[in-house]
Subunit: 290 residues, 4 copies
């Protein structure tokens, strides 16, 4: 039985995700490196700002951090108690999930890789897609704790499978983003009105989450709101590519995508949203996608 | 005022599109190279099977043929009368649209490039997306004639703009298809269940018409039903690429996509559906996407 | 028998090529759009600066112009006399060679596409490689006139074959250039001394004209001397790619090369040498190849 | 002072390399997993077939094995004595060189990564290019022992630098190979005689070791003699790519090259020479490069 839950990492996503937990749990501990943010969260949502030592002794510990490196660092310094389940919502590295699952298993605890999709709006509304790898029984036990912020909550395989699905999802996002940039620039260069073209394509077989959401809400309006940072997308495409390479798979299109996104990342302004990757392409074509 | 309409080209798409016209027009002429098909259509839908000379003298002439070459050949041999509007639903070449529009204008007639998206099911249901380039007034006049088989009917620009949007739409379809094949193969090679992954991705930012429809309905079930032939997709990606090259645009991702689809086309079995392009990739990875 | 020769186009290449002709011919006419250059050539090398009308009436007419468009324009305005041979040393378009050969044949004259390789130093020394397409007998007759500036003079096929070989040669140059830039940057990023690496690679299987000449003489020394302009290399890679596309060949590596060179071209400073294409890559990697 | 040398790994390269050592050393030990080959070498060249325990106690130990994994396995099982220098001629992984150098340093010994280029003919003639990473003093001491089979012997940097240069060399070989295949196929599809084209390109800026040697000696003659196996080239391109990725460098052209070579590797017949990678491309184009 779950008596206590903790949430570690109150970034743009984690802050909103943790806010849903008090609906289901009497005691919700939160911790953040910048501790003021934890205190702010406690004041606003009725959670408790605690030390990292306390947080890691909860029955269920959530983490949502920039990369697997930070997660590993905390887990190995502050291992959870026996019987605990660590639910890591970071967009992490599958290999790291395997390692952490094995490390926690040796202590009688469990590690679930449970990355989320849906961005800040999904975190806000508690409708995130959660793709989960790891022990099936631990998944069953943790399900109710995930539910407050989850829409679709899906067990996709062994440890690392959740991270793998997230990485491939984001790789497809990246591929669709760049292909869309090239395609719409081609249309504009040929005198086609982009809004009319977008309406047609969104009613046709070329549509994607990029044409339905990213292009109209971030690019055509030139807003590029920072909700998912470009360096994180570059990291995720790298994770997906590493998965292919470990399996000795040729992936020409995904490799090129990763190269283009990484180039965009290296040449972008600080604090760029992932959608701003198209600005690199605009600097080549001298055509704004608007 | 439109008194007569004709439909030229009763292939998988045209046959179904023309079937909707009698709802709105008393007289609907149809013509097909294999004339038996025209007679069958007449018997079934109350249209009239006529000669090509008669068909091309209608007020509004629709054509839906394999490529712009066939359309040009008919138009130049059998030019329509003054005041007529030729609505070409072929997935054609923008340059050809410009040429035909100019040729018909010299005769007091109009040419609209009006390719459709939605496949045979959309043609069946009369819900096709129709993206139209050419004279705005001709578009207004032709609108009612297009409505019986159209869902979204959109004027997107000058002559050629309709073909351009269609070509780019299909290029995006091709890019998404190949990226999805690489991505899902990567997941399978890493032990992830593809159906669970698909459910997650379709609730996430990596989704596209490929993940929502093509992958479950054509690939994962190993059916690859022939409704849109691979050589036609290869042709369309070539049209999109030519548009980029004429504009001197670099399009690394679309170029690679076109190369991959063309390779799939060259090495595929006859009568392959476009979705069977992934079989080339499967021959590389030795992993079936299922 | 050849009594008179003319040279049209005294650019960096043509000026030096024409300078060798007086060794073999009593009368050498020269013409240049900027006529002062023709007069300067006449004064320096004992040629005769003449009008375009006169130049095009020689027994053998050489041309060396930026693109096939300029050549076509002159040939069609000032067609040569019957029996003449037009030797076009431009890096031109194969299709144009076929057209010009047919146009001249109708007038009893011949067109040879005869692009050259070897850069200004080869033109200076009269050791250019000349790759020639067109009528074999015309090639035999023109051979002696080409010899003064040619090293290897080779008949490679029908009209257009010379241009095709040149375009593919330059495409390989472009591919080797970009691959070398990526490879040497990778070495530098890993702490390897580039000059030592270069010495090893030039004694190994990875060597090319780029590692043997372009890298040490233009890039590592940061000189990028303008002897072959980047826009011309971009044009040539476009010609090579068009040849592949007309043959429906997939060429993933050459397509990507052309896209990268075209991007470099679009984003380069004016008057950039072809070797300066690597500066685009340097702007991505933030590492200078030196 | 070097009193004894040993050579571990008598494959196609090692067998010939070790044959030169008796010129300079009184005592040359050899070891091979298939020991009969060591005995054959001893009988033919006056070396001594010894146990692995004996071989690894020489003053200078050479190794030439398929991959770094085999080298690591032997070194860690049979570490050399203090003062010894291990010269690893494998085409290995830079990271492994760093690890082995550190491991041996802790024992008072040295590890030099010293991969070779020049193929079996260079090994036969003792003219191999040897690119060496590691401690500069160890390099000086080992120089004389390398000389019998070396032509150019070059210190290129710290541990791993030798492997890095070799990997990048082979990546450039791979890129040039594939680009050449696409380019020459394009020429053939356009009716150009490949031997004439080759002669021109080898006298021009597009030439490389591929056009000068691989194409005429292995491909155009359809012999594809097995001297450097395709799986090893695929491995080497993977090493080069990993170097780029560790440095976060985008390398679009090298990535595509690696994907194509890996695809060729996955789909090739057993015992294919690296040059047979072009057969994959031939299966796409349906055109033999001959």
């Amino acid at each position: 039985m779950t008596n206590s839950v903790a949430f570690i990492g109150l970034g743009a996503m984690g802050y909103r995700m943790a806010a849903h937990l008090p609906k289901s749990f009497a005691q919700v501990m939160v911790w953040n490196r910048n501790f003021a943010k934890a205190e702010q969260h406690a004041a606003k949502y009725g959670t408790q700002a605690v030390t990292i030592e306390q947080a890691t002794q909860a029955d269920i510990i959530f983490s949502c951090l920039p990369t697997s490196a930070e997660v590993e660092s905390i887990i190995t310094q502050y291992p959870p108690k026996s019987g605990a389940i660590w639910v890591d919502c970071t967009s992490g590295v599958p290999e790291s999930a395997v390692k952490m699952a094995s490390f926690l298993q040796a202590q009688g605890a469990h590690f679930l890789d449970a990355p989320v999709s849906g961005q800040t709006i999904g975190a806000e509304n508690g409708t995130l897609t959660v793709m989960i790898g790891g022990d099936a029984q631990a998944f069953e036990r943790a399900y109710a704790a995930i539910e407050p912020f989850g829409g679709l909550i899906k067990h996709v395989g062994e440890s690392g499978a959740g991270f793998a699905v997230k990485a491939v999802n984001n790789m497809l996002l990246a591929a669709n983003l760049w292909a869309t940039a090239e395609g719409f620039t081609t249309l504009k260069a040929n005198g086609v009105d982009l809004n009319s073209a977008l309406e047609c394509i969104n009613a046709s077989s070329g549509k994607s989450a990029v044409t339905e959401m990213v292009l109209p809400q971030r690019i055509l309006n030139r807003e590029f709101p920072l909700t998912f940072a470009l360096p994180l997308l570059a990291k995720d495409t790298g994770i997906a590519l590493a998965l292919a390479q470990q399996a000795k798979l040729p992936t020409p299109l995904l490799s090129l995508t990763q190269n283009l996104i990484q180039t965009a990342n290296l040449t972008s302004e600080p604090d760029s949203d992932f959608s701003a990757a198209v600005k690199l392409y605009e600097s080549w074509s001298q055509i704004e996608i608007k």
